[in-house]
Each structure stands twice: as C-alpha cells, then as structure tokens.
C-alpha cells in the first residue's frame, strides 16, 4: 500500500476546475516529483493534500486512511508537513520561533524537540548563525532553508516541498537539492513540486507530469528525463 495516495481528485477554486481527476501514489522512502508549467495544478495538488483546499470529488489517503475531510491542522499531526510555495516564513518571528512553530504539534518539553532542532540546524548551518534574527530579515535562500527546516520540525513521514528552487541562485539550488536528498536518506518520504524539471528529475525516483489539472505522464525519473515530450516541453532540450 502506498504511503500517500490521491484517487481521482477534483479540486475547484470557485468555479474554476483546477484539478481534473488527479490520481497518484507516493511510496514509503521515495522522492516523487510533480513537474509541469505554471497553472498546471502542482501547488493546488499539495494544498489539497495538506487540507488547505478540500476536493469536491475523490479521496486523499494516508496509509489507507482518508484525510481529505480533515482540517489542515489535524493532517499535520498525522505526519504530513508542507514547505509552502513562496516560503511563507513568519517574518516577524525569529528563526528559532519559526522553527518552534514548526514543532507546534509537539510539546516543548518533548525530549525529542532539542534533537529535532539540532538536526535542522545541522542540515542548515546558516540558520544556526541566525537563530535570534527575525525571519523577514533573512535572504531568499535562507528563508527557503528556514521553510524546509520548519516543515521538518514536526517530524513528518511525508514532506511536501513546493518550488524550493524558486528565485534562488543556481549554486543555492544545488545546495538545497542535495540537502533534500539527505533528508530523504534520513528516512523522510518527499513529494517535490518543481518548475525546474531538470533538477527535480535529477534527485527523484519517480515523477508525474501535470498539464492543465491532469496527469499526462508518469514514469521513473530516469525514463521521464529521456522522454521526448518532456525534454521539449520542460527541459528546454531540442
């Protein structure tokens, strides 16, 4: 059984039919990527999984249990955590407070809390230097690190990453992607949404290609990056 599964999910923004029957599965231990152009429905898919949007039709299952009818703060407790599009860190909370909010579902007396904090600060040494700084004063790259680190603080089984490469210099993108791989090796399953298909397929095991709210292709990452349509449309190769 897949860890996370979407079955024929339809999500609407008002009258706009954003997801038209998405079905996908993420298995324990995988990095799965969703690629596609602007407006294809990648972020909408993640927002639906996290419970920020509710599907009008279809089901979202975590370990076989329906979660699409639950409010988002309950879904986090089941082990699904999201680093949202555009980082969305809390600008007037310090780095440490942002991370603390990431661990909101755990008690601060939880002995594991310090260990989680250490793990995140080890993954992102830059954040360690800036624990007392307000989130809003960080650079774009640091904010992205904080957003991922904050999502890890809840000790998720599945980490949803929405466009971690957005607006970052190529060298930082490499750095962040290699950290994402490390996180996966430490045992967290990852669903990665990216416009940077080349990078995403480089680290993922499997991928899905989204177009106007539908999945048009799904395969192993290796085969997807060799696929002619994918190369033309998303990798910029001729």
């Amino acid at each position: 059984m897949a860890l996370l599964e979407l079955q024929n999910v339809h999500t609407f923004y008002g009258n706009i039919h954003a997801l038209k029957g998405i079905s996908l599965a993420v298995n324990e231990g995988e990095i799965v990527t969703l690629i596609g152009s602007n407006g294809a429905g990648k972020s909408t898919t993640l927002r639906t999984i996290s419970g920020l949007l509710s599907p009008r039709q279809g089901q979202v299952l975590l370990n076989g249990r329906r979660i699409d009818t639950m409010p988002s703060h309950e879904i986090v407790k089941l082990g699904v955590s999201q680093s949202p599009e555009g980082r969305r860190i809390f600008p007037r909370l310090t780095v440490l407070e942002n991370l603390e909010m990431g661990a909101y579902i755990h008690s601060r007396r939880d002995p594991q809390y310090q260990a989680d904090l250490e793990r995140v600060l080890d993954l992102f040494p830059r954040l360690r230097e800036r624990v007392a700084q307000k989130g809003g004063t960080l650079s774009g790259g640091e904010q992205q690190m904080l957003a991922i680190g904050r999502a890890l603080m809840s000790r998720p089984h599945v980490l949803l990453l929405d466009e971690p490469s957005m607006g970052l210099a190529p060298i930082l993108v490499d750095q962040i992607f290699s950290i994402v791989q490390d996180i996966n090796k430490q045992g967290t399953t990852i669903l990665l949404v990216e416009q940077n298909a080349l990078m995403a397929l480089g680290i993922a095991h499997r991928g899905y290609v989204l177009q106007t709210g539908q999945i048009v292709l799904s395969d192993s990452a290796k085969r997807l990056s060799e696929n002619e349509t994918v190369q033309k449309a998303y990798l910029g190769l001729d």
Partner: protein, 387 residues
C-alpha cells in the same frame, strides 16, 4: 562536535536574553512615554502659565499645586485607555478587523464586578472581606465573564462572516454593541441603571513626596488607594500580556496566526481556536478595565462603553493599530493629554471654557492629526513588531 556543544548553549542563552528584553522593553517604552509626555505637557503648561501670569495673579502657584494630581489623574485615565485599547489592537492584529463591540465588553465587565459587589454585600460577605480581596475576586470573575462574552461574540457574530467583505463584520460589530447596551439596560432595570459599586472603605492616601514651597506650607503629593490599585493592576496586566505574547507558545501561535493564517494552519495550529483565545484575552483585559473603572469612579451605566471604546480605539490608532506596545503607549499619551486639557483649559481661561468638555475635542484632534501626518501611529510599523 566540540564546536557544536559550545555553540548550542550560546544560542539558547542569546534567545533567553532576547526573551527577557522582549518582555521588559515595552514596559521601558511605557515608562519613557509616561515621563516624556508628562514633561512635555508640564513644560507647555508652565510656559503658558508664565505668559498669562502678568494678567492673572497667583496663576503660576495654582498651576504648580495641581500639577501632580493632574499627572496621577492622567495616568489613571491613560491606563484605562491602554488596557481597553489592547483588546482592539490584539483583534486587529489577528483579523484586521475593528471589533466595535469591545467598548461594550468593557462595560459588561464593569457591571459584572459591580453586581458581584452588591450581591456579596447583600449576603453580608463583603464586610468580612478585605477590600483588596474583593478587588482581586471581582477582577477574576469579570475578566472571565468578559473573555467568554468576547469568545461568544466572535463565534456567532464574526466567524460566520470571516470571508465576507470587510464592511460586513464591522456592521455586525456595531449591531452587537447596540444589543449589549440595551441588554444590560434591560437586565439592570431602572433601579440599577446607574450601578453604584459598594463602598470598599479604601480611604487611605499614600504620600509620595513633600515639596517645600516659598509660602512656607509644604505641598504634599499623595495618591489615593483607588488610583494606586488602578495603576498597579493595569501595569501588572500589561506585563502579563507581554509575557504571554512574547514568551509562551500560545503567544507565538497568536503572532504566527496574525502574520499568516494559512501557513499557521500548516504548522498544526488550530487557527479558529487561536482566534477565539485572542478574543478571550482582549475581552478579559477589557473586563478587568471595567472593574478598575468601577472601583475608582464608583458609578457605572450601560453606556460607558461607547465613549471609552472610542477613546481606546483612538489610543490604539495613535500608537499604531495592531501594535501591542503602541496601544499601551497611545493610551497613556491620550490619558495624560486629556487630564491636562481638562484641568488647565479651565484654569487658563478663567472658567470661560470648561476643560472636561473639551478634553475629547483634544483627543480627536490628535486622532485626525495622526491620521494625516503619521497614519502608521507613534511607534510606526517599521520600528516595532506587530502582534
């Protein structure tokens, strides 16, 4: 590893020093504004007195005699506005919505405290109680009642309208405030319309200092028990609020919800619960202010919430709406200003203008000036942190 072991305690120590600073800094800022406003207003009054003393004999000594009392009155009024203003600013910070029913929550607190006093008196229990014990007891009961009332209002009058256009919940708030005014009037009945707090026998005055004057008789500066209770209690409430907002997990969650509601829910924060808690805290502060008002001024009526609410709203805007320290500072500046205008306008015009009638004019002139020249408020958004 060794490097890390050193770095970690350092980081947490920095954080805890930062925490202490976060709790104490607003109190420091209040102190600065209390002293600063008193000095500036005092200086203006003295200059005016010197200018006018050519035509009016004895004016200067009269001005000096009442100055300490005016400052104490101003502080009482200022802390009243500050405590109520916090309710506006907390809710605004989280929902970007002006809760115009907040003045009535304060009024209900005043009635609950007074009603409790009358009931205790009728049972013969009040006489056996130390007055301070009664004040603490009344505060706890009224704060709980007002807090729960605010939560109920949010649940039934605002939450269903959360995604409606901004004007809609505002109209709902005005409706709630009218309902509360008339509901309390109905419950109180004609005999209790002007509810008198029971006599607590707080007649002690505390001498603060004694200033020798040229005339020979020493000028004694004293503060009455009620004013002292008022100032100390509201200061304690402000310190407690700062601790709650800056240090506790709940406070951080409130700030997180204020900054980004959707992302807060991705952290596992129950946003509706946090909003309800924010209303509870704001309502409890308002209710506490109501009891303190009753203890100090002894009579309350169902309409006291309107003007007090408007003034507190002015204070919140003056300090920068959504900014907690700003609300406290704005309240105090406004209170001092009103106290100065009340007393000295009468004195300087030889009674031709009645100062207390013009105090509100001064407040609202300040509001207009702030909105024109510094819409972000005294403490501006860039320099200090919002909720």
């Amino acid at each position: 590893m060794a490097v890390k072991a050193q770095a970690q305690p350092l980081a947490s120590r920095q954080a805890s020093v930062g925490t202490l600073r976060q709790v104490l800094a607003p109190i420091g800022q209040i102190f600065v504004f209390v002293v600063g406003s008193s000095l500036i207003l005092g200086a203006i009054v003295l200059v005016l007195a010197l200018l006018l003393s050519r035509t009016q004999a004895n004016l200067l000594s009269g001005v000096l005699t009442v100055l300490p009392l005016v400052i104490i009155d101003g502080l009482v009024l200022g802390f009243l506005y500050a405590t109520i203003a916090l309710g506006y600013t907390l809710v605004y910070g989280v929902l970007e919505f002006i809760n115009f029913a907040h003045g009535e929550i304060y009024m209900v607190g005043a009635f609950v405290g007074g009603g409790l006093g009358l009931w205790l008196a009728s049972q013969g229990l009040l006489a056996a109680m130390h007055p301070l014990l009664f004040v603490v007891f009344a505060l706890l009961v009224a704060m709980t009642a007002s807090g729960l009332l605010a939560v109920g209002i949010e649940r039934f009058a605002y939450r269903p309208l959360r995604n409606a256009p901004r004007l809609v919940p505002l109209i709902s708030a005005i409706g709630v405030s009218l309902v509360l005014q008339d509901l309390v009037r109905l419950l109180a009945g004609p005999s209790r319309f002007n509810l008198r707090y029971p006599q607590l026998g707080l007649s002690r005055r505390f001498q603060l200092l004694e200033i020798p004057t040229a005339a020979g008789a020493n000028l004694r500066v004293a503060i009455d028990s009620q004013s002292l209770i008022f100032i100390v209690t509201s200061l304690l409430m402000l310190i407690a609020l700062n601790y709650l907002i800056n240090v506790t997990k709940l406070g951080k969650a409130i700030r997180a919800v204020a900054q980004d509601r959707a992302t807060a829910s991705l952290m596992g924060i129950n946003v509706n619960l946090i909003i309800a808690m924010t209303f509870f805290i704001g309502g409890a502060l308002g209710g506490g202010a109501g009891v303190l008002f009753g203890v100090k001024y002894s009579t309350v009526n169902p309409y006291i919430g309107f003007i007090a609410g408007l003034k507190a709203f002015t204070a919140a805007v003056l300090g920068g709406i959504g900014n907690i320290t700003g609300a406290m500072v704005g309240g105090i500046v406004l209170g001092l200003l009103e106290a100065f205008v009340s007393t000295y306008l009468t004195l300087f015009t030889g009674g031709r203008f009645s100062g207390p009638d013009y105090a509100s004019v001064a407040s609202f002139l300040i509001l207009i000036g702030i909105l024109i020249f510094r819409p972000s408020g005294l403490l501006g958004e860039a320099t200090t942190q919002k909720v």
